[in-house]
Amino acid sequence: MTERPADELRDAAEHAGTGPAAEGPADPETGSGAVPGGNGGEALESRGSRGDEDGGDLRAEGTLRPRRSYLAGVVLRTFGRAGAVVGLAWLGVIAVFAVFGPWLASSHPYLWKVRTEDGSAAVSSPLVEHLGPADVTLLVLTLLVLPGLLVWRRASLGRRLGVLLLAAVVVGVSAWWFVQPPATVVYDRYRAAERAGQVEWVLRPPIPFSPSDRQRDRPEAKNLAPSSTHWMGTTVDGEDLASRMIHASRIALAVGFIATGIAVVIGVLLGGLMGYFSGWIDLLGMRLLEIFEAIPQLYLLLTIVAFIQRGPYMLYLMMVIIGLTSWTGYARFTRAEFLRLRRLDYITAARASGLPLGSILLRHMLPNGIAPVLVSASFGVASAILLEAFLSFLGLGLVDEPSWGQMLSQAVGAGGGFVWWIALYPGLAIFLTVFSYNLIGESLRDAIDPYTQKKAG
């Protein structure tokens, strides 16, 4: 059992460095100490003053190929696979939609010059005026914080993630306080002003419709098939489907990530403590875990949703419930990994060097045991998105906010007929997103599995 990780790593090292290793000495082990300074790697070694003959059995690629950690290797192997690249590409598109949604699809013009009643003309940006706290937060994080963290190379991945999380909280809370878009929004007024000839010039987003713009001034816009004006058609209420699709991607991503994030944090914490301490903590933890596993997630969600009045907090409630009921798998994985890791020499060595418990658990054990959790989390994101779509489809989820599942439920419209475009686009989006997460999960699983690696190599 203790030899397994060493084997894995050796595999990883050999696998990753096949090129240079093949050109090195035939067998690095037999060459040890016999001919110091025989090749490039050993020549580098023998510069030392004394006792470095054993440097000869250092693998030749060690000095030649770029230095890379185990996790970095896993990430590289994962995204070296076509499936993961395709999945990541689609998620990238969804992420762009999620962050820049208001800029891509909105009834508010970017800029316009409009004459007021008294005849004076003024340039204003209704879109910026109508940005909500969430829009501003995402924008600041994506355009300012994220590039900064990518440039800040000296910090470790964990520290950078921590700073990102902190920045998200700070920016989010301050945006909540300071960004106050107008409470009542009249989408029709831009089109009305244009018809009245008050607008001198206007710069509109590519899709000039907000997701909840019901186009009351255009009664003929209800239930339209895709056309050049409405790229994906309109709903029964006259809302532009393309706009709703783009704005719904934010909810899909948020539900997937936040629900799975809650589940992973709970699961890793409990599983890690259970695995490290074992004994009665493990016993109690496992019983708690079994109790939670016995709760049928869907029916719990249905029951709670049925009791609670609809509102904008519905989304967060769903995230929390999905998170609170799906942590058991992650806890099992983490517990198993920690049970294995705590017997490993480097954990004993870490304790022997006097490291505090938190450091051992978080810095030394977690990075080594997180890989199976990540695999399972990427499938978990997919299932959380499906669950939200399912609830919204049943009409138990969001009401005003656009969501793919809620759109799907409108495919069989009030008119009774089947509206193909409303079925096709949200269905396709759900399918592609879930598929992408599964592709990434599969690649990640293959990348950390030494057996598939051997086959591939």
Binding site: P5, G48, S49, E53, G55, S69, Y346, A349
Partner: protein
């Protein structure tokens, strides 16, 4: 200087065994280490060598394992300034129970142990392949240990780590710092482990079979390195091994362990020239001699090697027909007796009526420079 640095008294550690009984992994071990001294603990697998060493740092996982009896005095009699300053009033309490200000390591809390681990007592392990964390560079791992125990900045820690790597004979240490453990060979990794252990300049190094996993040429280099570093830094070492060749070359004092007990304790010359206990004799006899042709190699003993399998009341059952019946050497009433000056053997009192009272071993043999030079 004639105070032992570390003194293990009557240490007993047990683990749950088959059928609800507890297996005594370590059963009443007495051992002392003086400053600058190398004490070798030899014995076969399962004799309690590693458990004794791990107990010193309280590294035995205590839900399965249990410290039944005993005390481990650290720096007996001396003020424990470093630890007391860090642990506050708790350190004072721990200091009182030993009497005369000595500190019992077993009585310390986890927080108090952390001040000792790595800082005053460091440990290196058998498997260099698995003793380093695969996800961090070796530089990060050494610096983490340094910054934990010393109030230094990042740059200073980096300098200390680089110096430590250079000390253990690693060429181009500043570029090695950025490498991951899988990029290093076994010998290099063990050097890194030693560098990590010595970076905080401990007073005692626990070396748990440091060369077992390495091939023979590297073994010799690592041992030579340890000897040299020990001389330079004036550090004491508890060397755990099952290799008698390593013992003969490196140790000042040898403790032979079997079935959780120290069966014989003497300085290295005395032990190799006049082994007293049947187990020690068997051990020495079982070493194959180069050039001598034999059909079968000698074994230490037949049969029982697992403590649970011993007949009731017997601890040692050596197989040596020339010796008197085993009852005289084993049994629950056997204790360490000073058979000849500075030479303790585990036996019952009837063996030597003149010394009916067992004497706790206090062996203050210090390596004299001449012999140290000749062995290396």
């Amino acid at each position: 200087m004639h105070q032992p640095l570390l003194q293990i008294e009557d240490l007993s550690v047990s683990f749950p065994g088959a059928g609800g009984r507890r297996t005594q992994a370590v059963d009443g071990v007495n051992l002392s280490v003086y400053p600058g001294q190398t004490v070798a603990v030899v014995g076969e697998s399962g004799s309690g060598k590693s458990v004794s060493a791990m107990s010193i740092l309280q590294l035995i996982p205590t839900p399965p394992g249990r410290y039944d009896r005993g005390r481990i005095q650290w720096r007996g009699g001396q003020a424990d300034g470093k630890a007391a300053a860090q642990t506050g009033p708790g350190g004072g309490d721990a200091g009182r129970d030993g009497g005369g200000g000595a500190v019992d390591l077993l009585g310390r809390s986890e927080a108090e142990m952390r001040a000792v681990r790595g800082n005053q007592i460091a440990m290196i392990f058998q498997e260099p392949m698995t003793s380093l964390n695969p996800v961090y560079t070796i530089g990060m791992q050494i610096m983490e240990a340094v910054r934990l125990h010393r109030p230094v900045r990042r740059a200073e820690a980096e300098a200390i780590a680089t110096a430590a790597l250079r000390d253990v004979g690693i060429a181009d240490p500043s570029s090695r710092m950025k490498e991951y453990p899988h990029q290093l060979s076994g010998g290099m990794r063990q050097r890194v482990m030693i560098a990590m252990a010595l970076a905080c300049q401990p007073e005692l190094l626990l070396a748990d079979e440091p060369t077992t996993a390495l091939d023979v040429t590297i073994q010799a280099q690592i041992l030579e390195l340890l000897r040299q570093l020990q001389r330079e830094k004036g550090m004491a070492m508890l060397l755990i091994t099952h290799d008698l060749g390593v013992v003969a070359e490196n140790a000042d004092v040898v403790a032979v362990m079997f079935a959780g007990r120290v069966v014989e304790l003497a300085n290295v010359r005395e032990l190799f020239q006049q082994p007293m206990h049947p187990y020690t004799r068997g051990l020495l006899k079982s070493m194959p001699v180069l050039g001598r042709r034999v059909d079968r190699l000698d074994t230490v003993m037949d049969g029982a090697t697992i403590p649970e399998d011993f007949p009731a009341g017997y601890r040692v059952l050596p197989h040596d027909p020339t010796l008197p019946p085993p009852t005289r050497y084993g049994g629950p009433d056997a204790a360490l007796h000073e058979i000849s000056p500075q030479h303790w053997v585990l036996c019952t009192a009837e063996n030597d009526p003149a010394r009916a009272t067992a004497t706790p071993p206090r062996l203050a043999y210090l390596r004299d420079p001449a012999s140290a030079a000749s062995t290396s």
